[in-house]
Subunit: 320 residues, 2 copies
Amino acid sequence: MAVYTDITDSELAAFLADYDLGTLHAFKGIAEGVENSNFLVETDRARLILTLYERRVAETDLPFFIGLMSHLAQNGFPSPVPQTDRQGRNLKRLRDRPAALVSFLDGFSVREPLEVHCWQAGYGLAQLHLAAQSFSMSRTNSLGLAAWRPLFAPHAQAAEGLEQGLSARVSNDLDDLAKTWPSGLPEGVIHADLFPDNVFFLEDRFVAAIDFYFACSDMLAYDLAICLNAWCHDATGRLDLVRARAMVEGYQSLRTLSDSEVAALPALARGAAMRFFLTRLADWGAARPGALVRPKDPLEYARKLDFHRAHHAAPAAYGL
Amino acid sequence: MAVYTDITDSELAAFLADYDLGTLHAFKGIAEGVENSNFLVETDRARLILTLYERRVAETDLPFFIGLMSHLAQNGFPSPVPQTDRQGRNLKRLRDRPAALVSFLDGFSVREPLEVHCWQAGYGLAQLHLAAQSFSMSRTNSLGLAAWRPLFAPHAQAAEGLEQGLSARVSNDLDDLAKTWPSGLPEGVIHADLFPDNVFFLEDRFVAAIDFYFACSDMLAYDLAICLNAWCHDATGRLDLVRARAMVEGYQSLRTLSDSEVAALPALARGAAMRFFLTRLADWGAARPGALVRPKDPLEYARKLDFHRAHHAAPAAYGL
């Protein structure tokens, strides 16, 4: 939600001169993404988003992320299209940071998803999984099961400060998850962060997904579990069955889940809640007082963890 | 440089429904203006900027600012055009804040103005002064001479902390300015904040001015003096004669300065430097540690004050 690195018009004009994209007409910093600096760039021929990657994105991962967006776009999935300069490069440098130029996409995200949006998001997620099947690169999920306990340890006390008893509950959850974590399910490239703010709609139809900077190789059904957490819970942490059923149905309209995947969804959803609880907990502690970008509340995901802890053995609670 | 208040798509759609501007296609928060929250809004028919006015803009002043933009646009000056809803209102409310929708303008600001940009900015400023002549509303300059001493008093110690001796120098400057401040010069509506980031260029031609939220009634030549400070000094605080002459010449290509105005320019430039030094000094003290929006350095204007203190009696130093 900010521009961390500003650029000048002359820097941008020089940068654009490497591409066949016309001459600069307008550019504005946009408040999108908490991780990078983003600019809307307009030329006489194209509308683009310029991203300068700040330190939270590992530079060695960028060829995977940008390659994935290119691959998806070439396979009919509406992701931003990375632009290549005259030398065929789609990843360059600006202000001593990695920088990429991608197409601007119409559409806008919904802040309060309805049933229709959940169906469409499920459909879009399956479309992404299918389009990514032929992508040849892979990337380990650095925020998977193995990362959770080391991520929690330095913040266990902070969790206890947020809510009495939370630290012990999370620690028990981590034990449970280690014992019950599914394996052998279909894998592929997953978005891993397809929250409502990363999906664009037009007239309630899924028209684009953005922000592929957590994409990695993992179980496909885990991606759906992340989306169930992100789209289908109410403010108290309860899963809303109407929206959850719509999302799974939208997903299955393109890709049928196996029985094992369906059976694993509650455990995967519990793990997904853990993953976002932990990164939010870590960001919460690292926030500078008074900073304009407020970290997201870890307790939102503590409530979702409560739900999954209570119901993970009851498929009916998930509408399954 | 931030979005202070976020809005949801449903709020925006409901807001847009009051206008004949088509259906929502995209919206993004933009990092423009340190005072308000701004969004790029696109419909199937129009490209717009939505502004939510935060607490630093007095709500009672908004009819003047928005009326001025409408008047300027109607008189051929390229300012954003305030949009009226079906009931004829150009100022509404959203998220419990005053809100206005104006046209999106092509072009981009230059961070390092060259001679040509200074000529064009001078030309644009004169165009603004002429187009505003027939505007019937007026607004006292709340940051004029009378405001400076009260603005300085609570921060005199902070100034001394920034640089030894600065407090006494500024205090003497304030005495000088009170004694020598020009009067009887042509007055009208001035922009009062036409810095490079508030001017858009296309192919080095002035194509738009934005951010009218300091506009007020004052001496026209004072507006030119503000621009000389904002566009024509080098990093050490020295006035660059090439750029200063270009700006005055660009201005006079549309509106000839009287002999009294020319003679008053050094004193007015000294006052303009004081005005921006003082507000930057106040903002510097009020900044929260760690905030993402860094206040501008008051010492940049302390150096310009040094220049004017040394040269205000020597018109040649101003290229006059």
